[in-house]
Amino acid sequence: MSELDDEIRRLLEQGMREAAPDRDTEERVLRELLKHVPHDIHGPDDGGAAAEPPAVDGGATAAQTVGLSTTAKGLAAVFAAATAIAVTAALLRPSVEAPSRGVEERTADDREPPGDMPLGHALKDTPPAAEIAPALPPTRGPDRREPLPAQQSRTRSHSPAAQPSPTVAADSLAAELSLLDAAERALSSGQYERALSLAREHARAHPSGQLTAERRAIEASALCAAGDPRAPATFAALVRDHGSTAAVTRARVWCGDEKPEP
């Protein structure tokens, strides 16, 4: 079987690059997605799946399945920590849009295995596409079995070696999320020292992390809540460096005039 011309292959790669959505879209869809993903990051034993078994009986309504009862505060916390990019203002303006049509109509799909998934057959992780060039197909791993005949001698050159690994980035973000989520919980439950400790741990583990503003907001909030004399300076520095972000708004609840939500 003859393989594709290089010219066509390059066209496919370029087409996929062009098809990738912009960051605003990525953030907007994540925001919508998190409205329907139960906020199960909280709780020491939430267990994700245990807290929300997969809908395999087909009897659950869409609302039951997606956990629409999630509190706005919980969603805002998850989202602020998860994205931490230029979408923060939206957190303060809960969307009034109805759930997307797709969400409402997907109940039947729940009964369906994810594509009759080849779970037992799956690759030993195909490296994911680079985050900055996500449309590119993964580089074939050395353990791929039985490549297509026409592909055997083919070398794909779209692995951006100089670019950061998206897997590492995602893992790192998830680790940051986990730490700051625990700190947020400690703060909310009045364990200010623990919140500070976790925030410091985040600072050590992720000195250049994506959620620095969130961490600093937690630090300021914990100091304010504890009545620590360092609080005003810490909060002022946060406002100076991250002026109009949701992180500052959240800290303002503890350090400013606003009262914490019950």
Partner: protein
């Protein structure tokens, strides 16, 4: 691979341990790729947002079934294929018209669009629109998702030989149409038809 679902040197959250964090991490890694893939599987641009959201919701809901020795990306491929198929079926049923013709018409680039910055994407979609649904799926999974024939066969529930056959025909069709289209463009640039 280690126990991590997302693999890599760092340990990703386990699906069971932290569902939200896990799905967010998967989203951050794969969202843009899956978006682009769904478009190539025939989901029109205005509908991709809904469908891609469904894909990640399914990933979240079914995370308990995720096996640590498998790949999130492979899983997402399966979900995306199913969702794209279901979307096409819904569209066909609603419109009572052949979907391919609709898609072809909606994707046919206007003169203005041809001058836009997404010329490669438009050309790719024109080529893909020439394929049958079966050929298109196989072609996209092989040439864009870089899956092997056995993997594609397992995903689609067909034998590898069927995959090879569809892929061969799809490549042949794409090659022919690409030559015809680029030739026509070349002629146009030289003086127009």
């Amino acid at each position: 691979m280690g126990s991590s679902a997302l693999s890599g040197r760092h340990r990703a959250p386990e699906p069971r341990a932290s569902g939200s964090a896990w799905v967010v991490a998967a989203y951050k890694t794969h969202f843009r790729y899956i978006w682009a893939l769904l478009g190539r599987l025939g989901v029109p641009e205005p509908n991709i947002e809904d469908v891609v959201q469904e894909v990640f919701l399914v990933l979240h809901r079914r995370r308990a079934e995720f096996r640590s020795d498998s790949s999130v990306r492979t899983w997402l491929h399966g979900i995306a294929i199913r969702k794209a198929r279901r979307f096409r079926e819904r569209q066909r049923w609603r419109q009572h018209e052949p979907l391919a013709a609709d898609l072809e018409a909606s994707r046919a680039p206007t003169p203005e669009a041809q001058a836009s910055e997404h010329q490669a994407l438009q050309l790719v979609d024109r080529l893909l629109a020439e394929l049958s649904s079966e050929q298109r799926e196989v072609f996209v999974l092989s040439e864009i998702a870089a899956m092997s024939a056995p993997e594609i066969g397992a995903l689609l529930g067909v034998k590898p030989n069927t995959v090879y056959s569809r892929l061969r025909l799809a490549r042949q069709r794409v090659r022919e149409r690409y030559r015809a289209l680029t030739s026509a463009r070349g002629d146009g640039e030289e003086g127009g038809p």
